[in-house]
Symmetry: D2
Subunit: 338 residues, 4 copies
C-alpha cells in the first residue's frame, strides 16, 4: 500500500526516461561541454525569461549547499526558519563545506518574514558575530505552505536593501507555481531572487537538480564550487537531458498539477474522518494532519504504518505526479476501517 | 569613568604579573616542554583533585572551540542555549574549524535543562540530521546566573546516559565557585564534567586560558587540535606561569570574591534607583538591569555611555577584581544625578 | 572524429541502460532503502567475496573524497604520488570537506612505493606536522600503468604495520583486473585493501560509483559522511540498479576487455608512426605518446585537435568499451596524412 | 648547556618586558580598542612608511594562516617550496581553517623562483584544479638563506602580473633586514609585498606577531577572520604594547644584529672543526651543518644532544639576541672535546 511517505518514492516520468534514453547517442564531451547540456541551459533560460547561469547537480542538498557556499564567506551566515531544509535535513553539510553558519528563527506556518530577520542585522560589522548575508526560503515550504509572489518580492527587496541575497530552495517549486497559477519567471526572476535550487526529482525526474543564478557576477566562480563540492558529473548529458522534456510542453506543470490535485483530493477525504485534524493552508501536494493516538496505534498494528511524527502525532502525506485516486481511496478506506 | 563594560577591561593582578616576570629566566624548551608549564599543570591537577590533561591557549574562544573540535566529528553537533557564548559571540569559529554545527534552544535564565535537550535525541542514527554529541553550558552563564552543583551533575549524567559529553565554558568559573562557596573539584571534577574551558583572563590574568580534560581518552589527540588551531604558543612559559600564582594561596578565590562583592554592592545600589529594574538571580559579578528610556538618553548625552542594549534597554554591568567601591559610587551618583 | 579524449566521452552500455529502465517500476523507498539497492549491494559482496559496506554516489570525486574523509581526522594526511587524481584533479575537494591534507611524492611510472612513503613516517607523534594515516593509489594509475597484485599487498601490509589504511581509487579498476587476468576479489579483497572507490562510469555506466569498505568498523559512520557530502541520492535505485547488469554475466570484464584491446591496437599502430614515441608500460586502455611538435601543429590546424599537453607535447589517448577499430584506423590515417 | 635549538628558547628582552609591565595601568577597552594598541599600529605604519592594516595575534602560525585565509577562497591555492613553514610545520592549519590547499615545489636553497611557479599557472580557469592565488615565501627562509630585495620585488611583480598576491612569512624578517643592511620599508613596502607576517617572538618578544596588510582592500574583512581564527585577544594591550619598545630606538635591529653576529661567530668556529661541513649561504642567525656520524653519536652520548636530523646528519644551530660568546665557545669546546 502507498503510504504517501514522499514524492521521492515515485519513479521517473516516462517522458523524462525517454529523454535520458535519447541522450545515449555516440560520444559527447564530458563535464557539461556537450550539446544536450547547452540545450538544457537554453531551455531553462527561456522558461525563466533571462540568460541565467545553470549548474546541474545530482541532489537537492548539493544544489542548496553549493549555491550557498558560493555566496557565503566562512564568517557569514544564512538566515532561515527553524524548519528550513538546510537547517534540519542536511546533516550540517553547509557548515562543513563552507564554514559558514545557519541562524534560525521560529517560523510562521513554515515561513519567514522581514521582522524575523531584522534582529540579526544588529550583528553587522561586529566581529564577534557571524555576518548575516543570505536569506533562505523554501518554496513550497517544509510545512506545505506557499509564499505569495508579493512575499517573495518583499523578501528579495529587503535582502538587497541590506546588502544580502535571497536564495530559494525550489525542491517543490513547480507545485507552488501551479498552486498560485503563476510562472517560474513571475515568481522567481521578476521578484528579484538571486539564486534558485531548481528541483525536478520530486516532480518526476530521476536526479534532476539545477543551481540557477540570476546574477552572473555572484556565480562567476560557481564552476569551482561545484567541482570542489564533488558534483561535476562526467557524463552530465544524462542529468541535463532530463530538463528538456521536463520543460517542453509544460510537463513540469502537468506533473505538479496532478500531484497537487491528488493532494487536495486526499485533504478533502481526510478532513471528513473523525479523529483526524487536517492542518490549515495546505495548497499543494503535501498534507499534514494531527491523528488521534488510538488511530495511529491501530494503523501501525494493522499496516506497519511508520511515517507519523509520534511525538506530536502529526502525519505528513505527500502525493506525487503518479499518485492515483485509487491509491488515495485505498489509504482512506484503510483509515476508515479502524 | 568606569562604566563596568566588562571584566576584560581590567588589567593584570600584580601577583600574576610578577609570575610572568619571574618566568623570564634564561632559556627554556619551547612549545610547553618547559618546567614552568609542567609545574602549572601539576598545580591545576592538584586543585581539581585529578591528574588532568591541560592545554594552555591564549583566548577563551580558542579554549572552547579547540576543545569542542576535539570531541566532535563534522557530522555531529553541540547543543546549547540560544545565549551560549559559542552560539552568539564566536563568529562561527566552531563551524569553520570543526565542520560541526550548533543546535540551540531557548534558555531559562541563561540555563539549559535535560528537557531542552531531549527533542534533539530523536535525530540519533538519522543520517539526514547532525548527531547531538556534546552539551555545552557556561558557568557563570552569559545571563549572570549559576548552575548549582546538582544541576551540573544532572546534566553530566544525562550526557553520559546518552553517549554524549558535557563541556563547561568556565570563562567566569571562579565567580560561580565563590558564589556557591564551592570548590573546582566539587563543582567540576566530582560532577563528571568531561571538558572545561578554564578561564583566568577575566579574573586577573593576562591571557590565561586552559583546556582541561578529565578523561585522557577523549583528549589523546588534543595536542594536534591545538597546533592546527594555531594556538601552540612557542614561549608557552609566559602563559602557563600565570596559573601558578593564580592557584597558589587561592588568589583566584580572592579575586573572584572581590568582583562578586562589588557586583552585589552595585546591585543593591541600583535596586534603589527609580527607573531601574534589576533582573533577578544575579549572584556573581554581573548585573543586568532594565533602564528607563529617558534615563538611558541622559546617560548617553552626559557621559557618552554606550553599553546599553538599546533595543531592549537592558544594561549589563560587570565588576572585576580591581573594582573599587568608589568607582561603583561614582557610577551610582552619575545615574542619580539624572 | 573521435579523438580518444576520455572514456567519459562514451555513452552508456545498452545493458546498463536497460537496467535503469527496469528499475522504473512503481514506488520504492528512497535514499537507498529499496530492494534494488539491497540487491546491488549483495551482488557487489558476492563479486568481492566478502560482506562489504557499500555507499553509492554519483561521481568518482565523491567516492574518493567521502571515503577518505571518513578515514581522516583533520590533522591527518593522505600520502600519494604527485600525479594522484586526488592531488591534481579534484580542485581541493579533500581539503575543504575533511580539513585533512595531501602529502605527495614524486612517482615512478605513476606508482608509489614503500620507500616513497617512509620519510613521512618521521612526522608521527609530532604535533607540528600532519599525521600520515592513509596511502592512496589509483589502479589503473593516471599514467596508464598497473600495480601488480603483489605490489598492492605489499602496500596494504606496509600501511597496516604503520597503523595506516590503504585506499584504492578504482576509477579504472576493471581495466587493470582484465589486463592482469585477475579478479576483484584477488586484487582488492585478498590483498587487504581497506577502502575502494569502485568506478563504473568509465566502463559503460551512467553515473555508477560506489565506496566499498572491507572493514565495517572504519565505515560505521560513512552514511553520515555521504549525506554531509551531499551525495545521498533520493531515488538511489537508478544509480544502484546499474551495478546489477554490470556485474552479472561479467559485463564489466567484457567492456574492459574491449577497451583494453582497442588500447593495445591503437598503441601498436601509433608505434609505427614516425614522429611519435609511445611511452612504455601501457597495458590497459590508456596510451601516452610524445608527439613531434610539427605533427601536433598540423593536427591542430587540420582537425582542431586540442587534447595534447602542449608544454611537454604528450598526448593521452583513451579507448572505451564502445571504441571501434574503424575509429582507431580513422585517427591513425589522420595522423599519417600529415 | 645551550644547544642552540631555536630562538624560541630565549626569554623576553628586558625592554619588551618593561613595555608589558607599563601597559598594566588601569582599565582599558578590550579587543584592541585601547590606546596602546592604536599607538603600536601607528608605530608600525611609521616604520613601514605606509598607513598599513595591522592585526595582532599570539602565534606565528596564526599570523600566517589567518592572513592567507583572508586572501584565499576554498578552491584556491598558495604556492610555496616544499620546505615552506606553512607546508611542513603547521599541521594542516591552512587546510582546515580555509579549505584551500598548498601546492609545493622543490626549493633552491630554501627559495622559490618564478620558474618554479609557472607550471601551476596552467591550472587557471580549469575547474578540476585548485587555482593558484598566493605566492608564499619566508624571509629568512627555513634553510637560513635570504631573498635579496630585488628577488622579492621580482616575485611581487610576477604575482601581480598573474592576478596573485605575495605573502611574506617574516618570523625572522629582522634577521634578514639586518643581514642585508636594509629596512622594513625598502624590503617589504617598496617591493610590493601584499601581506606580511611580522614576527617578533623569535627576536626578543613574548608573543608578538602581527599580520600587516599593505592593501586595505584585501584586508577589509580580516577582523572577522581573526575572530573566527580564535585570535582576538581580549586584553590585547599586553601583546600590542610589545611592539612599541621593539620598534623604538631600533631595538629590533640591535637584537637581530646580536643574533646574526653570534650566528656568524658560530659558523666561523664550526667551519674549522674537522668532521663538520657547514652549509653555504648562511648569513643570519641560523647555521646548518653536516656532522660526521661518529661525532653525532659522541655528542648524544656525552651531552644528550638530540637536535640533529639523524637521517641526513644535518644539525641546525640557531642563535638569539641573548646568545653569548661564552655559550658558543662552550658548544665548540664540547664538540672539539670529541
Amino acid at each position: 500500500m502507498n503510504f504517501f511517505q514522499s514524492d521521492n518514492n515515485s519513479g521517473v516520468h516516462p517522458n523524462i526516461l525517454e529523454g535520458i534514453n535519447n541522450a545515449n547517442e555516440g560520444i559527447a564531451a564530458p563535464y557539461g561541454n556537450d550539446d544536450i547540456t547547452k540545450k538544457a541551459i537554453e531551455k531553462i533560460s527561456e522558461v525563466f525569461g533571462q540568460d541565467v547561469d545553470v549548474y546541474f547537480v545530482s541532489t537537492g542538498t548539493a544544489a542548496n549547499i553549493i549555491g550557498l557556499a558560493g555566496l557565503l564567506k566562512p564568517f557569514e551566515a544564512v538566515v532561515c526558519t527553524d524548519t528550513g531544509h538546510i537547517n534540519v535535513e542536511e546533516c550540517g553539510a553547509l557548515q562543513v563545506f563552507s564554514g559558514a553558519r545557519i541562524l534560525y528563527t521560529p517560523n510562521s506556518s513554515g515561513k519567514i518574514t522581514k521582522e524575523d530577520i531584522k534582529p540579526f542585522l544588529s550583528s553587522i560589522g561586529n566581529e564577534h558575530e557571524s555576518q548575516p548575508k543570505v536569506i533562505y526560503i523554501s518554496q513550497t515550504t517544509e510545512e506545505g505552505t506557499i509564499y505569495t509572489v508579493e512575499e517573495i518580492k518583499e523578501l528579495a527587496d529587503f535582502a538587497h536593501e541590506n546588502n544580502m541575497y535571497l536564495h530559494v530552495d525550489g525542491a517543490r517549486i513547480a507545485n507552488a507555481v501551479v498552486a498560485l497559477d503563476s510562472t517560474f519567471k513571475e515568481m522567481i526572476t521578476d521578484t528579484g531572487v538571486d539564486l534558485l535550487s531548481f528541483g525536478g526529482t520530486k516532480n518526476g525526474m530521476m536526479m534532476g537538480e539545477a543551481i540557477i543564478s540570476f546574477n552572473k557576477e555572484i556565480s562567476k566562480n560557481f564552476k569551482f564550487y561545484r567541482k570542489q563540492g564533488m558534483q561535476l558529473l562526467s557524463k552530465m548529458r544524462y542529468t541535463s537531458s532530463q530538463f528538456i522534456p521536463y520543460l517542453e510542453n509544460d510537463l513540469w506543470r502537468e506533473n505538479a498539477k496532478k500531484a497537487n490535485d491528488m493532494g487536495q483530493y486526499l485533504l478533502e477525504k481526510l478532513t471528513k474522518i473523525p479523529g483526524i485534524k487536517v492542518m490549515d493552508n495546505m495548497e499543494t501536494n503535501m498534507v499534514f494532519a494531527h491523528i488521534d493516538e488510538e488511530l495511529t496505534k491501530e494503523m501501525k498494528d494493522r499496516y506497519g504504518y511508520e511515517l507519523l511524527d509520534e511525538e506530536k502525532n502529526i502525519a505528513r502525506f505527500v502525493t506525487s505526479f503518479d499518485t492515483t485516486k485509487e491509491e488515495v481511496d485505498e489509504l482512506i478506506h484503510a483509515i476508515e476501517a479502524i
